[in-house]
């Protein structure tokens, strides 16, 4: 309806492999990018800091996890632990005196190494057993952080993120924090989009889909599973550091508990396994839906349209939220990304439905 594929002819291989081969969609992406770049100038500080900023950071984390779960097909139920390692490493490295840029890289590296340690052990097993192994990582890392005072500063302690500068800008500034998180999300988006068109990404998908066929065509399955763990943990650790420095500003072990891991898995699943736009939609849904639902329910009861006990009132948003997730996954197991895709494909040929192959 809004744009069509007809009349767009690619005459070079490069053109068919562009990130967005349809010109209109390039414009779309450009407009969205402009909107988020200009967000601080038209959004109130509240919306920017408590909605858009966490959305961007959690989308980045979801993108890192979907590389492992969606693209490479390795389940990970301890991803919050990976982010925790990144967050705590970054804070300690900055406190140690390292410039933030290096601490940021170091956080990713430490998370990747520890993630790989578990990955290597875990990769001998598949499916549900891998879930168990990653769960073990979650609880082990949780326990270590809480019980080693050198890391957490003691049980129930809060570790303040030290002041740091990224390039020449101080992270004390709200705007700098926003733009840093935005840049990180954009970088990860570009990476994940590129994964879908390079030999690296194809090898990961190959081991996900049929590992014996992958090995017979020359892909070393163990190496690529480990690479997936390494890359994903690296990015996840750095996302954890971004979360600590740009959003939480002070970290406690509870911020990276098992609940958070399940939430991340939910973001990946609700958004759509392996999908880039799905990571943003999934993170947005899991993060914002409970808040919005709470607001709606509160508003309805203020109007007097919802005469239920206070107890039920506080649980109602969660119940609707759960029902929505179930509903979405029943209607479209491939997540919000697939729903978006269906709508897009419908309008691409509307009203000439028969022309769709």
């Amino acid at each position: 309806m809004f744009y069509r594929q007809s009349g767009i002819y690619h005459t070079r291989y490069e053109a068919t492999r562009r990130l967005w081969p349809i010109p209109f969609e390039r414009w779309q992406v450009g407009v969205i990018l402009l909107l988020v770049l200009a967000a601080p100038f038209y959004l109130s500080a509240l919306y920017l800091q408590s909605y858009l900023l966490p959305w961007l950071i959690w989308s980045a984390a979801t993108l890192s996890l979907t590389l492992l779960m969606g693209v490479a097909g390795q389940l990970h139920f301890g991803y919050a632990a990976v982010m925790a390692i990144g967050a705590y490493s970054a804070i300690h490295l900055v406190r140690f005196g390292l410039p933030f840029e290096f601490a940021f890289l170091g956080a990713g590296l430490i998370a990747a190494l520890i993630g790989c340690l578990f990955g290597a052990a875990a990769l001998r097993v598949k499916g549900l057993y891998l879930v168990m192994a990653t769960l073990a990582m979650q609880y082990l890392v949780d326990w270590l952080i809480i019980n080693v005072p050198a890391i957490s500063g003691g049980a129930h302690a809060t570790l303040q993120a030290p002041s740091a500068r990224i390039l020449f800008f101080s992270l004390e500034n709200d705007l700098v924090r926003y733009y840093f998180a935005l840049a990180w999300a954009v970088l990860l988006t570009v990476f994940l989009l590129n994964v879908k068109r390079t030999s690296f990404g194809r090898a990961l998908v190959a081991i996900r889909d049929k590992d014996y066929a992958a090995s017979v065509i020359g892909v070393n399955p163990f190496r690529y599973k480990l690479l997936a763990f390494f890359t994903s943990s690296f990015l996840g650790g750095m996302s954890g550091a971004v979360l600590a420095f740009c959003f939480y500003r002070a970290v406690t072990p509870e911020q990276f508990s098992f609940n958070v891991s399940t939430q991340l898995v939910a973001m990946v699943l609700v958004g759509g396994l392996g999908s880039v736009i799905g990571a943003f939609l999934g993170a947005g849904f899991v993060l914002l839906a409970p808040m919005i639902l709470t607001n709606i329910v509160a508003m309805l009861s203020d109007f007097g349209w919802l005469n239920v006990s206070v107890n039920l009132l506080s649980h109602l948003p969660l119940m609707i939220y759960g029902a929505l997730i179930l509903g979405f996954l029943l209607a479209e197991p491939l997540g919000l990304a697939k729903i978006y895709d269906n709508i897009r494909n419908y309008f691409l040929v509307w009203p000439f439905k028969h022309s769709r192959r």
């Binding site: 068109r197 390079t198 194809r202 889909d209 992958a214 065509i217």
Partner: protein, 265 residues
């Protein structure tokens, strides 16, 4: 034993005394095999005679517990499958084993894996570090798409195209690896007469175009007798006949193995 003509040609694949057990089942009882460079070599035999087990030994899935395998005089038994693939062996599977999450084009591009340098960093800097390589390999893949006439389905996801085409895509993926030895495990299973004829044509084209040595497992005797230079007949883990297709298939031992001879109980 070998005639002078055979000595002059180099041996692409040599199997010596291959033994493979699955628990108590002795699936391969020490057959020897030599396939010459440039040959289309047929492997036939009743179900359960050890054909696929032999192929799995060659590609490294089930390494033989006894015996040796040489690819162009280089010992390859004991190597993991991906190392054997890097040495120049590619295969297709009896039941199609394509990557369902990828398009036809991407499936064939995976076949180029051993010739490419995949890296996460190059992926991030696609425009500077990966694009040129991707495009060069795309051109090679397009040659294969052209050879096997897959242009129409290039951008389709593999699980929506019919079985005959899927088998052709699998052949394309194997060809993309530019193998020295191509192993085809029942490429015509489940096909109708027309698809079969197409497949034969594609195999002959590929053989001629790419200077291949082909090891072909096939149950359709018309196919085997018309395109293979030599065949070996297996029964119960042993080689019971070998030679020019018609002669081998009419060998009394082979007839006995297939339909039961006078000396069979």
């Amino acid at each position: 034993m070998a005639t002078t003509a055979e000595v002059a040609r180099s041996v692409a694949l040599r199997c010596e005394n291959i033994n493979r057990w699955f628990g108590g089942l002795h699936a391969l009882k020490g057959p020897d095999l030599a396939i010459f460079q440039g040959e289309i070599f047929g492997l036939v035999g009743p179900n359960g005679s050890g054909k696929t087990t032999l192929v799995n030994s060659v590609t490294g899935f089930y390494p033989p517990q006894k015996g040796r395998i040489f690819l162009f005089d280089e010992q390859i038994n004991g190597l993991p499958p991906y190392r054997i693939a890097q040495k120049g062996v590619a295969r297709t599977f009896q039941n199609v084993a394509l990557f369902r999450g990828l398009t036809v084009l991407d499936n064939i591009l995976v076949g180029r894996h051993i010739h490419m340098r995949p890296s996460a960093l190059a992926t991030l800097g696609y425009w500077w570090w990966a694009k040129k390589e991707e495009m060069a390999h795309r051109a090679k893949v397009e040659d294969i798409i052209d050879l096997l006439q897959l242009e129409d389905v290039r951008d389709e996801p593999v699980d929506v195209i019919p079985l005959g085409l899927q088998k052709r895509v699998e052949l394309a993926r194997a060809l993309a690896a530019e193998p020295r030895l191509l192993v085809l495990d029942e490429p015509m299973a489940g096909m109708n007469q027309e698809e079969k004829e197409y497949m034969v044509r594609f195999i002959l084209d590929a053989h001629e175009d790419r200077d291949l040595t082909i090891l072909l497992i096939e149950h359709h005797m018309d196919v085997v007798t018309s395109i293979c230079h030599r065949v070996a007949v297996f029964n119960d883990g042993v080689k019971i006949a070998e030679g020019e297709p018609r002669a081998a298939i009419n060998d009394p031992a082979v007839v006995a193995a297939y339909i039961g001879g006078s000396d069979a109980a």
